[in-house]
């Protein structure tokens, strides 16, 4: 039976001089999974990716691809391809030649590789650009070329190093959906590195949260968001309020004027004064000074309210309420 694990890392470490960039990471990434490595810059996620690609040699531990130990293999002997953060397109080659590069290196006949390269460009919706140079394309288009250039080799695992980081917001959101589609269609394991928690949550089947060269938590986006294993995860993935000994997410908190009466079906509540109102279009963020000490943020959908209404709530006395099941503890 084929191994169901696309990538397995056991005790992988990497030191640069006295600095431990990666301080012992164990991970299993399943075949066909969209797996994200999320963390702030310097948390070791990119170094882990580069060790899987073969650009860096681990100081210790093992890297396995589909059950095969590849720790000591060069990048060109591994069945993975990378989409680089700066795209790393060859500026002296045309778009078609860029996409063909991997096939050409592997001695695929010219007619065949032309055909496959064109098909790959079609799959990223980039037709008719064959003879252009990378410098003549926009950021989003270059990103697609980089994707086609990697996918055309039909790797077992595609490694993506913050591939959307250089795009503007609108384009980034479009590419998020598109990447997900491409991954589903190609059936290839995607290993995605990002520092953007929203991106990781929206795109991934599972997420590993990195901090200081270690994995803090691995789980589905919902698990990581709703049940953070550590204080770091709770703070890094989304925002959270610390009220007493527990944490509550801002969107789980209901906000009512104190004299408006009952808290509904909520089983926890606290009172306070609105210190700040931040109107953000679809929702409003209320910063509340709690009577019991500390501050909490509550996020309210602007279902029926408008900016005029919510602004008037500053300095009002309010009651915050939430359900016990939405509370979580962190060690």
């Amino acid at each position: 039976m084929a191994d169901q694990t696309a990538v397995r890392l056991s005790g992988v470490r990497k030191s640069f001089g006295a600095v431990d960039a990666v301080a012992g990471v164990d991970l299993e990434i399943r075949d066909g999974e969209f797996f994200s490595m999320l963390g702030p810059s310097g948390s070791g996620k990119t170094t882990v990716l580069r060790m899987i690609a073969g650009f860096e040699r681990p100081t210790g531990g093992r890297v396995e691809l589909a059950g095969r130990d590849v720790t000591a293999l060069a990048p060109f002997d591994r069945d993975v391809n990378t989409v680089f953060q700066d795209y790393a397109l060859f500026p002296h080659l045309t778009i078609l030649q860029n996409v063909e590069y991997g096939l050409r290196v592997r001695k695929v006949a010219k007619a065949r590789r032309r055909e496959r390269a064109r098909e790959a460009l079609r799959s990223v919706r980039l037709e008719g650009f064959d003879d252009r140079r990378p410098a003549q394309l926009s950021g989003g288009q270059r990103q697609r070329v980089a994707l086609a250039r990697a996918l055309v080799n039909e790797p077992r695992v595609l490694l993506l190093d913050e591939p959307l980081g250089a795009l503007d917001l609108k384009l980034r959101e479009e590419m998020q959906v598109e990447l997900k589609e491409i991954q589903r269609r190609a059936g290839i394991t995607f290993l995605f590195v990002t520092h953007d928690q929203e991106e990781a949550l929206t795109m991934s089947d599972r997420v590993a949260v990195f901090n200081r060269g270690r994995v803090e938590q691995v789980g589905t986006p919902a698990e990581v968001y709703e049940r953070p294993a550590t204080a770091f995860v709770a703070a890094f993935v989304g925002t959270s309020n610390r009220i007493g000994d527990v944490h509550v997410r801002p969107e789980k908190i209901r906000l009512d004027l104190l004299d408006a009466g009952g808290a509904g079906e909520a089983d926890r509540s606290a009172t306070g004064t609105v210190a700040e109102v931040v109107y953000a279009g679809p929702h409003t963020r209320f910063v509340v000074d709690l009577d019991g000490g500390g501050r909490a943020v509550a996020l309210q959908q602007n279902l029926q309210t408008s900016s005029m209404d919510v602004m008037r709530l500053r300095d009002e006395r309010v009651r915050l309420s939430w359900r016990a099941e939405h509370e979580f503890l962190t060690p």
Binding site: A53, G54, F55, A74, P75, F76, V80, N81, T82, F84, Q85, D86, A88, L89, F90, P91, H92, Y101, G102, V105, R106, R149, A150, N153
Partner: protein, 302 residues
Amino acid sequence: MSGLAPTTLPGRPASLRRRAAALLHRRPLVRLGLLLSAPMLWLVVAYLGALFAMLLTAFWSTDTFTGEVDRTFTWQNFQDLWTGEVYRTIALRSVAVAAGVTVLCLAIAFPMAFYMAKVARPRWRPYLLIAVLTPLWAAYLVKVYAWRVILADDGLLNWALGPLGARGPGYGLTATVLVLTYLWLPYMILPIYTGLERLPDSLLDASGDLGAGTLRTLRRVVAPMVFPSIAAGSLFTFSLSLGDYITVKIVGGRGQLIGNVVYDNIGAANDLPFAAAVATVPVVVMLVYIAAVRRTGALEEL
């Protein structure tokens, strides 16, 4: 219209300096003129002027009896140059030496530059650069005479090679190529180093990631991308070698290059017009060389 504010701001007297600055701000042409007057003067008078004087002189002649320069137009110098077998041999030999030096420089400079730009730790790079530049701080003559000592019959090279049963090249054209390579090597290393430093590491990673081994990455990615830098370096090594006449005098044995012919005609033969005619040869060779480099598109990317 009486409500308009006064034109000078309070507390800021319009000093002469400020007025001049304001004038320059308003008149871009005056600004440009000031910026470029000195360099243009130098370029036109001293630089191109000298070249033009040389070209003009090449069409004059020297009276063999009096040694006076006769300023009447004649093609005679170029005719002598074209028909003289010995001049053609010397010109071809000079081009061959310059080409040899360039190829040798490239063969040594590329691995060195690659090590400096891509392999060595970044904090070592400035020191390696200084090491490459150090020979340029020493006087030319001192370096060439040092090589004369090294290459001498009982010199350092033969002493070192002796136990292996081999001998150095002695004085001659080979020695000239060797010493010129030593002299001009930094001019090849520096542009290639700069070119390689500008080459993003991710391109090398990407090539390996797509299945290419080291040699293929060098051939398909690195070489085409640093070609403009190599072309720039070769312009230096080629032209500097083509114009040299001292090295060949000191370590070249009886070999002669174009530069020696020019020098001998200025000095011993006292035939300045003919020397000028000979001196146009390397100029023409360089123009052809630059045109060839230009055709490859390398100059646009510099």
